[in-house]
Symmetry: C3
Subunit: 285 residues, 3 copies
Amino acid sequence: MKAEEALLGISSEKPLVHHLTNYVTVNLVANTTLSTGALPVMAHAREEVVEMVSLASALVVNIGTLDPSFVEAVSLAGKRANERGIPVVLDPVGAGATSFRTATAERLLSELSISAVCGNAGEISTLAGLAAEVRGVESLAGDAKEAARKAAGALGVTVAATGETDYVSDGEHTLAVSNGHLLMGHVVGTGCASTAVVGCFAAAGGADAETVAHALAYFGRAGRSPPEERGRGHLRAPLTRRPGRARRGPGRARRFAAGGGIVRRLNVYYSGGRLRSGAVAWAGA
Amino acid sequence: MKAEEALLGISSEKPLVHHLTNYVTVNLVANTTLSTGALPVMAHAREEVVEMVSLASALVVNIGTLDPSFVEAVSLAGKRANERGIPVVLDPVGAGATSFRTATAERLLSELSISAVCGNAGEISTLAGLAAEVRGVESLAGDAKEAARKAAGALGVTVAATGETDYVSDGEHTLAVSNGHLLMGHVVGTGCASTAVVGCFAAAGGADAETVAHALAYFGRAGRSPPEERGRGHLRAPLTRRPGRARRGPGRARRFAAGGGIVRRLNVYYSGGRLRSGAVAWAGA
Amino acid sequence: MKAEEALLGISSEKPLVHHLTNYVTVNLVANTTLSTGALPVMAHAREEVVEMVSLASALVVNIGTLDPSFVEAVSLAGKRANERGIPVVLDPVGAGATSFRTATAERLLSELSISAVCGNAGEISTLAGLAAEVRGVESLAGDAKEAARKAAGALGVTVAATGETDYVSDGEHTLAVSNGHLLMGHVVGTGCASTAVVGCFAAAGGADAETVAHALAYFGRAGRSPPEERGRGHLRAPLTRRPGRARRGPGRARRFAAGGGIVRRLNVYYSGGRLRSGAVAWAGA
């Protein structure tokens, strides 16, 4: 599903997106979800997680600050999400850094039917069985394109390896989204926020590679700054969309202030609510 | 108590406001409390929650990300707060969305002596036994005025149902605060922040309907933008009050940046530290 | 180690700084760490805390929202950090407010080899056995200089008592850093953020009194505002440092937006990447 179509669907349905996420970037994740047009909810207690996900249109799992009770909540919520047939998006934060994170990501991928996995090159390489260097939750090296393709093939799900260029693969085809990430690493949580947008798009349009790529391209569109602020290098993100704006698509730049760390995305491929040619490019198999 | 009087009391006493709150908007809640002139503290461990609330002048409970150990902490802190006679303000986030949230809100209302309940129309309708639609933590429908009146009557406490217009009732009389909420739903946590302000006012002036209404009107005053920024639609909130400002009342607009979601309140009724006629209006019984 | 040297080391090594911290200011702590040039990671589960700290170059412990499982995680991580010989920085948030916080801070200081303790005057006075008034997590009174000196002597570690003037002592000598804190108390988490910067500096240069003082002076440099914004009283902090900037030192003001609370530091002693004479002054023994 293309971005405009997904955004119209989100805008009209206001889907509930249930996040089981970390406590570092949870506020950014909630605001990103709300500004994309969906309704975020965070609920982790085993007493309610199944009931809450029963109201939701997508489940987004981010293991950034995991512990056993969190993993149990994910397991309960994920099984219910699978029963209901709603998409489950996984951000395997820190897979490759500790064995607990790697094992948890692998366990969730085997126990649950995951729709899409979104991580950085190191995390995705780890899940693909490739060499990787993950320091804490940062990827220091790794071939993102190859990692996405291999992981998608091995796991049988859509996989996005995000970075300066995002690669999204279904194992056969791989899309490249080049909406510019050069300074993105200087704000904590941009990866978590982009996965949240994927969750919103999935709620409206599922999680095939095209939809995931459009979600990332939409998120990347955050980079367009109005001239008067370009000098400050503000990062713009889809965090303050106003009512009715979705009909026209993301036609104006939006501010993205994450804890004071403000950077600018370099390349913008969105225009007038449509992806311009080039925003999502086949990177080949 | 009127806003100016409450703000002067807060400014001179610097009361400690103990929050048992959710992890999504906790930073906004803390900053809102501090900028209102009170001292925020978050402490949830059973090992210290009773001792901490013994230092506090108000307890604010927000069940946005509840679980059993959180509820136990609330129960311990609430009982001690009741023994000490300090106000307890409850934000029943998501009541009506899951049975765990509804049951917890009801349990706290029966176990503890709550001074004021602040929620959206759906949450308050749920507690009043009226039909409501709560999706996650968002209210999608509900007659806020009727809900506030009925809930206040049934529960015997001050009840605020917040929304585009806030309604505050003691069961007999109902106050309307029309400080403009049209875009408020586009920032995560404005409801939590307004409840935090109610907690600060309650610390100085108790939680009768008038004081709660003035707290919400004060929070609503956040909407006044200086002309040069009106075009950006910034939301202003009482988050950056400077020392000594309370003496003159909230005479200048303040910036309210919540995770990059920045909106503007539409109608401002505060001026020169006083509520202008019309800010708090009797909506009738 | 002086600030420029520490910043160059951080910039070239990108050390992982493991934070066991509170959920109120965790996002600010992570962004501050990242913008100082280090990589932040938050991980608390007993299943991974030892493995994660084994990848780290410093451990920063902040007990702002402690509970027993948090303390256990600190104990496990701290012991491993000690085995590896990496610095452990402790922010004893709220010591003096409740016996649980005081006892926990004291327990950690006796069980672990702590490299530096950073707190406000009340917290440090408490650990020094001096009279103090701590309301929640705010210090209301206390002689910061005397507290730092006495605590450092008694505990045998570097101690920083932060406030309008920061005092850093090794028990024999005491440094004063007067980078202006007058309005700092009006943003939640500036103390936590300054401790995070100490952690980053410690990762590169250890935690002797000079290095800690330079870290605080660097953080204090946040106060320089460009003229056009001086009127708004923005606080500037090292939160948006750009790549390559470290080579030239912190030569430009940076924005510090913490939940909308924006204040200005008053005195700036940094210039051209170097501490000007006066920034760090010996306050005498």
